[in-house]
Symmetry: C2
Subunit: 356 residues, 2 copies
């Protein structure tokens, strides 16, 4: 079986690039002795990828309880469910042995009252403005958690708005300092803080110091995408996951071709619209993953149609690969990866866990 | 089981609204004697919905070969696979008994040469600028198809850019006239044209005449969404499918709450950005589907987080329903519908076929 034989659209995952991306992040975190990498499986959602990214059933992060179940069934025991927990979800999280996060007094009280073996981290906000209390308010939540307190948790998602290495270093230091200060405040109050967890792919790679931090979370670095390439997380040649597609129409009058990777196969993510280079809905590569078509991008998407312009000279049924803007969103439309390793030969099919 | 018990996020489908939307379209098409409704299952992708929309295994339209397989297995025999076919996909389409569409001389030659019982429609472009040859070139493709010719096919997708009833009527007439002219040109050349197929939900509802047309395709009308409501396809109260979500964080300093319906559960579709009212990534309704929260919309989405603003006053874990911008994209992230009928009681779970 080769890429010429697969039904399209489908996902292609290049094992060599994946391994290189994993090694790059492992090296970046290893610069900080004592700091553990807790890979975020929200991007790959795959046991086979987790075997490489978190070998020996090492610590992982998950974004849904469906992921938690899938990885627990496969043997991973040390998981953080990294989305604010509701009282209604505690039972399922406890049954799976997940650590949970909270920034809410009522949720913290429910965790404290839950009969299960739950442990929780206090989510703080270091500038993203999504979830989390200000570091100064972490102690109040921690006191409600009482003996269930496991530590401090933050995510510098605003690193995605950074555009230079200096800016990334600044955001990484803001993330570190906020988490460290919150942990210190808890310890000063006599509380035991085992875990101080932070991360995003850009800050994990760019952090100059992780003093006071016990672990780093990152996920998108495994596959990479057109947006991360522009943040400097990796190079354009380091995008491990692409969408294999076929030419389904030719429109010479419009200097365009249509492919069968549309809004469902690619997602409607337009993150590169705010980046230095706007790739539309994706960059067109050849079937071998090489940039043979110049500036050809997916300019428009319908549900099952993608319009490519300027048009590569391709026959009906010819195959291309499309590098995604945002790999997490693109991967989620598909149920498996077709694994290659630098050639067209498909050496494996790896499943994913979608949904909730 | 009620909506208070379901894990979130998940899809809720209101059967009463669905039935009303189906009757509305059936009535609109019945204004045109002799014209058949061929519902497009790309939105619902569900056997249970197809039983209502195309009862008695009536003709349907599909957007993927996975749909074609799923509906064929369930008993639907008369299907059009409404995305330009490639030579590589002919075998699977033929095995399923699908009619296919093409606008390409090479694909048409492959159809003519295929040993299977394939029949094909010539796709023409009546103004959308996506797939299809100009009506004047349909004859050239039809001649290549030879005895495999089934008819003429078009889709006035540019109706989505229409904003008034008068404009919709104009686009509908353009669609009808283009398809009719192409069919007439084929008949004038002595070819048998059995099917003249057109449609989009807006033009199907607004067409004043369908003279010369044998069938109408439409799909999104079944569920409706915030974008279609602004096109006049239906009212805001006619959105049958919503996403049930839970409050996972409260941010009074930002006048916002976070819910567990983010970019994956809702999709990143921003179609209402170009509509009179921009609903962000969705409109927040109460758990009963009522507009109790004024102008509260999903202003930002992360993978699993949705930010709602202005913030409804809700406890952690409280439930809301989110009306989607584009129901086809939203539904595709989920594997089933939780069916209600005007109350919170879940009276059924209906599966979907995702992927390709």
């Amino acid at each position: 079986m080769t890429l010429d034989d697969l039904p399209t659209p489908c996902l292609v995952l290049d094992l060599g690039i994946l391994r290189r991306n994993l090694a790059h992040m492992q090296g970046a975190v290893a610069r900080h002795p004592g700091v553990v990498l807790r890979p975020h499986m929200k991007t790959a959602k795959s046991i086979e990828v987790a075997k490489l990214a978190a070998p020996g059933f090492g610590p992982i992060t998950v974004s849904t309880l469906a992921e938690a179940q899938y990885f627990a069934d496969a043997g991973w025991r040390d998981q953080i469910y990294a989305v604010g927990i509701t009282p209604q979800k505690l039972e399922r999280a406890a049954a799976l042995g997940c650590k949970v996060i909270t920034d809410d007094p009522e949720a913290a009280a429910a965790i404290a009252a839950h009969p299960g073996p739950l442990r929780a981290l206090v989510e703080i906000d270091v500038g993203e403005g999504r979830g989390g209390v200000p570091p100064s308010q972490a102690l109040a939540i921690a006191r409600i958690l009482g003996p269930r307190l496991a530590g401090i948790f933050t995510h510098a998602g605003h690193s995605y708005a950074g555009r230079s290495t200096a800016e990334m270093r600044g955001i990484a230091e803001q993330e570190r300092a906020g988490a460290d200060a919150a942990a210190q405040a808890l310890r000063d109050a006599g509380l035991a803080v085992e875990i101080v967890s932070l991360g995003s792919s850009p800050t994990a790679l760019h952090a100059e110091s992780l003093a006071g931090i016990t672990e780093v979370r990152a996920g998108v670095y495994m596959f990479g995408d057109l947006f991360q390439a522009q943040l400097g997380t990796h190079g354009l040649g380091d995008i491990a996951m692409t969408v294999l597609a076929s030419v389904i129409g030719r429109k010479p009058a419009h200097q365009a071709v249509l492919i069968d990777a549309g809004g469902l196969a690619m997602s409607k993510d337009r993150s590169t619209a705010a980046a230095p280079v706007d790739y539309g809905f994706g960059l067109i590569l050849d079937i071998d993953g090489k940039p043979s078509f110049g500036q050809a991008i997916l300019t428009r998407t319908h549900q099952e149609h993608g319009e490519v312009s300027p048009a590569p000279s391709l026959a009906i049924g010819a195959r291309v690969r499309v590098a995604p803007n945002h790999t997490c969103m693109t991967a989620a439309a598909h149920r498996c990866y077709h694994v290659v390793d630098g050639s067209r030969e498909v050496i494996g099919v790896w499943d994913r866990v979608n949904g909730w």
